[in-house]
Symmetry: C2
Subunit: 232 residues, 2 copies
Amino acid sequence: MDCLSCTNAQCIIKKNYHFDKMHAYLEKKSTLVCKKGQNFIIEGAPVHGLYFIREGKVKVAKTGLYGKEQIVRFTGNGETIGHRGFGAGHFYQISAVALQKTTLCNFSTETMKAMLMEVPTLTYDLMTFYAEELNRSEAKVKKFAQMTVREKVIDALLYINRKFGHTKGIINIQLSRKEISDFAGTTEEQVIRTLSGLRKDGLIETPGKRIHIKDVELLRKEISEHNYFIDS
Amino acid sequence: MDCLSCTNAQCIIKKNYHFDKMHAYLEKKSTLVCKKGQNFIIEGAPVHGLYFIREGKVKVAKTGLYGKEQIVRFTGNGETIGHRGFGAGHFYQISAVALQKTTLCNFSTETMKAMLMEVPTLTYDLMTFYAEELNRSEAKVKKFAQMTVREKVIDALLYINRKFGHTKGIINIQLSRKEISDFAGTTEEQVIRTLSGLRKDGLIETPGKRIHIKDVELLRKEISEHNYFIDS
DNA sequence: ATATAAACCTGCCAAACCGCAGGTTTTTTT
DNA sequence: AAAAAAACCTGCGGTTTGGCAGGTTTATAT
């Protein structure tokens, strides 16, 4: 899998592509194809470098008590997974599972570190990525502390809708109610109840397990007080 | 305020100090002295660069509905405040308030950016800082979703105790119950009730508004199931 | 030292939330 | 196309949590 043929313009490797400086490192990267449901990063396992999604969709989660998992974010084409290798820890603190057939590029920590030292703009972009994710995550902490269940579910739906897009209004990914609740920070039943409520209010439609947001602006309005400066 | 005389070994500027490369930028930095309670970064205001604590203690928070604030972290000597200027946003998404008399160093975004481009190890260290904060923040998201009030309060106490240290067991900072609750993700009353409970269980003592953790290990044990791989 | 203000504490009640249980629909497999 | 499995849905009871109210203690100002 060559970076030259890759179409992910927002991938930080692709964006900073510089043949002379990087080709030696790029040759060392490996490619991995996962099928749906495959757990390619295991929480607590030794760090195996950084992953970039060439094509596919992935959920990133932390497992808690009694196996309850908290999905910390969803990722798509061109995005980065596996923050570590940098910093003190030598073990992954998250797990990553493919939500559909997914192709990944993997750099070892050593390769990545060497490349970062040689290409400052790459380091700068990765830094920016972390800084923005941090903003997003801190906003999420606030939301978890202050939002009601209904608001958290709405927020999750809007995020997923924006992240993966929609075709004729229907969100471009099939997540179970359980997965939505693991992301929104509540239970499966509460998500189901909330979706029923939103359906009765005419805000969404749910053909099967699919979800159709009828009016994004109307939904957004309900949680707008929580989102003064960003929409994460 | 000269960086040479600064004793914060863990400050990323100090750690990467390189006279020839950096003196021109260091001359542009400004110093700011805040008294207790001063709000030197205002949420929603235009970004004014990055701050480093030379000496003091600061709380970093996000304000939500009806003025309810969520403290996202506490910071002390040598630490960085103000993630932005990097990334898309041009407005602070957090506010920062001095918890006591605090001296700060401030770099404009432009100065900071120029310096980062010239000193790769500085960029790398700042990247690492963000990556670790991100881990911490994502762990917190999980905790907020899964911990009980008592567990969240214990977690907060242990964090504060570790962050600011303790003299003869008494935590080296005076926070109100309200501030603890704003950090732990609950209400003032629940924090008070939990502290009462912990006092009855012989785990802490509370002379006045001060807090004395009698046995850190015993407290830690109660939340250990939530902390497999990190202790944030 | 006294007055005033701020912070702390506790009981009570209402609202929000969770999880079980049992049934229905949808999806997948054979 | 039928059978099996998975996912979805809803009512209900119990628990947890939050917020008010009023009193007490501690800290601050005069």
